[in-house]
């Protein structure tokens, strides 16, 4: 059985916007699975359908075999979910938030105090539990949300952009705890992200999504192997054009960047690099500096969709989220 099984999923919003256009996806039990794609690719829509918030237009979704449409209640009982936006009451303390959610999730009163204590301890929030959430940092807010999602020991944890807007240290802390939880309970983690490195580092499997369709799937190294290309980047003494010609005669696809770097895609850069340097030397061109740039998921994405996940877009998205957070903290 799969943790999540999505078949031919289509979602058309009432304004006619096609958010998902025939998504097929399976998430194996016990793995960490990322859905990676740019802003607006359909990640959040997919998550909102899986978590039974909104209905699909067409297609089916099963969570541990339960249909999200006909058995929504069962599905909700199995998942722990952290939305992209903040899901806490900022005028309450961290402990109170956990307490209210524990009651909403129906955790028995005899176990409640212990469960809350455990998760707050686990996420490193014990010292700040009595503080109002509006005084928390972004990282603390995220950790509290995850703590709350862990209270009922979900078999499936669904996270929408779990570390968006967090600094690298806070991101690392969040992921260290998530992976510790996964290891301890054998749970499945399904998360949406637009951070390449996050998918690369923390996901056992990655699905790339673009314009409402899954464009590729596999482990990060598989994807890089199939679609990615490693590169050799050189800095040469003297005539770059001559170097280009020589390298083209060797059969490489060469490009010269504005800062004077000569780069070319190669299959086995570690083996090819000495040969390239030797070849150039024999033609009287000295290499000043050489490095190997390994394929990234970003390259894979560019190869598949013709575009990267734009930095500008990302900054805008983060700005939006941070300003919403500030607004919420001020209470509007």
């Amino acid at each position: 059985m799969f943790a999540i099984e999505v078949r031919d999923l289509v979602k058309v919003y009432s304004g006619g916007v096609v958010a998902l256009n025939g998504v097929n996806l399976v998430v194996d039990e016990g793995v960490s699975h990322a859905i990676l794609g740019p802003n607006g690719a359909g990640k959040t829509t997919l998550i909102r359908i899986i978590t039974t918030q909104i209905k699909p237009t067409k297609g089916s979704v099963k969570v541990f075999g339960f249909d999200i449409m006909s058995q929504g209640g069962r599905v909700r009982g199995l998942i722990g979910y952290v939305p992209q936006e903040m899901s806490l009451w900022t005028e309450l303390t961290g402990y109170e938030n956990a307490l209210i959610y524990a009651k909403i999730y129906g955790i028995e009163s005899s176990k409640r105090a212990e469960v809350i204590e455990d998760v707050l301890e686990f996420m490193g929030l014990k010292e700040v539990e009595k503080r109002l959430v509006k005084t928390y940092s972004g990282g603390m807010i995220r950790r509290l949300e995850i703590a709350i999602a862990l209270m009922c020991r979900p078999k499936l944890l669904i996270l929408d952009e779990p570390t968006i807007g967090l600094d690298p240290r806070a991101r690392m802390l969040v992921w260290e705890r998530l992976l510790a939880y996964k290891k301890e309970f054998g749970s499945t983690i399904f998360f949406a992200t637009h951070y390449m490195d996050e998918a690369d580092k923390y996901a056992d499997k990655v699905s790339l999504i673009d314009r409402g369709r899954i464009v590729a799937e596999g482990t990060s190294s598989e994807l890089k192997k199939i679609y990615g290309v490693d590169k050799i980047v050189l800095r040469v003494v003297g005539d770059m054009e001559k170097a280009r010609k020589v390298l083209q005669e060797f059969g490489f696809d060469v490009s010269i960047s504005n800062n004077g770097e000569v780069s070319m895609a190669v299959k086995d850069p570690a083996i090819m690099l000495p040969k390239v340097i030797e070849g150039l030397y024999s033609m009287g061109i000295a290499v000043l500096e050489a490095r190997v740039v390994e394929a990234s998921l970003d390259d894979v994405f560019i190869k598949l969709t013709g575009k990267g996940i734009s930095e500008e877009e990302e900054r805008e998205l983060i700005r939006d989220i941070l300003s919403t957070r500030r607004m919420i903290r001020r209470g509007g």
């Binding site: 919003y13 009432s14 909102r48 978590t51 039974t52 918030q53 909104i54 209640g73 909700r76 009982g77 998942i79 979910y81 952290v82 939305p83 992209q84 936006e85 903040m86 899901s87 806490l88 009451w89 005028e91 309450l92 303390t93 109170e96 209210i100 959610y101 009651k103 909403i104 999730y105 129906g106 109002l132 919403t324 919420i328 509007g332």
Partner: protein, 250 residues
């Protein structure tokens, strides 16, 4: 029992918010205090409405004017929670959607019901006379919560349909004042023009004020018809709010 617990959890959330930040209760109380003190006292000497003791007469009306306004404004929190992730989280939790609406309606009602104490106390200070039977006073308090549950449900419905803060506040403003004036809150129905009378009789606030007057002013228990009218109002508003809740996140 579990079902009930999730509803109470939402009420508890509201009480805890109130404990940390009681400012709204105080700011909301200023206007009704002016109604019962200044307006009540001035009008008591100027007009003959066929009412013996005008301050006592309008106190229940002002209780509901203030409380229903707070209840009707409660939905703004749902608009905020729609922008934040709280609603998404609640909708994907095991709590049934009907409980989200009932729980939040009750939570908003409990918050709004604080006006009952403030208004009655300030009216009493300027000479209003109420029943001294504690059971009737407690029953009245419960009635206030009951009535405000329906009005909070209307507010949640408005939040689901309006979605933005500006439009939401607009609709709340458009509902609340007419509701107050087209009821028996400030004057008896008998002296109203016919057209207004029809509207007042369809206005749930009229029945709410009527119950409260009977209980705290006249020590009367003949409230069955009023309760029936308010129950119909509550069921309809809760049912529509539940039905339309899906729209809030689409």
């Amino acid at each position: 029992m579990k079902t009930f617990e999730s509803i109470l959890a939402l009420v508890e959330m509201e009480l805890r918010r109130l404990k940390h930040d009681p400012i709204e209760i105080i700011t909301r109380a200023i206007q009704p205090i002016l109604w019962v003190t200044v307006f009540g006292i001035v009008m008591a000497h100027r007009v003959a409405l066929g009412v013996q003791d005008y301050i006592s007469f309008i106190a229940p009306g002002v209780v509901f004017q203030s409380a229903t306004f707070m209840a009707l404004a409660y939905g703004i929190m749902m608009v905020f929670e729609r922008e934040s992730g709280v609603l998404k989280k609640l909708l994907s939790s095991p709590i049934p959607r009907v409980n989200i609406v009932i729980g939040r309606s009750l939570a908003g009602a409990v918050r709004a019901s604080t006006q009952y104490i403030i208004v009655l106390a300030s009216a009493a200070l300027v000479g209003a006379k109420f029943t001294s039977n504690p059971l009737l006073l407690i029953a009245s308090y419960i009635i206030v919560i009951y009535v405000c549950t329906g009005f909070t449900a209307i507010s949640i419905l408005a939040a689901s349909l309006m979605k933005t803060r500006e439009r939401f506040m607009g609709i709340v403003g458009a509902i609340s004042m007419p509701l107050f004036f087209a009821s028996n809150a400030l004057y008896p129905i008998d002296i109203m023009p016919e057209a207004l009378k029809v509207f007042a009789l369809l206005n749930p606030l009229t029945y709410a004020v009527d119950i409260l007057r009977k209980l705290v002013l006249y020590n009367e228990l003949d409230v069955l018809i009023d309760l029936l009218a308010l129950t119909i109002f509550n069921i309809i508003s809760l049912a529509i709010a539940v039905k339309e809740l899906n729209k809030i996140i689409e």
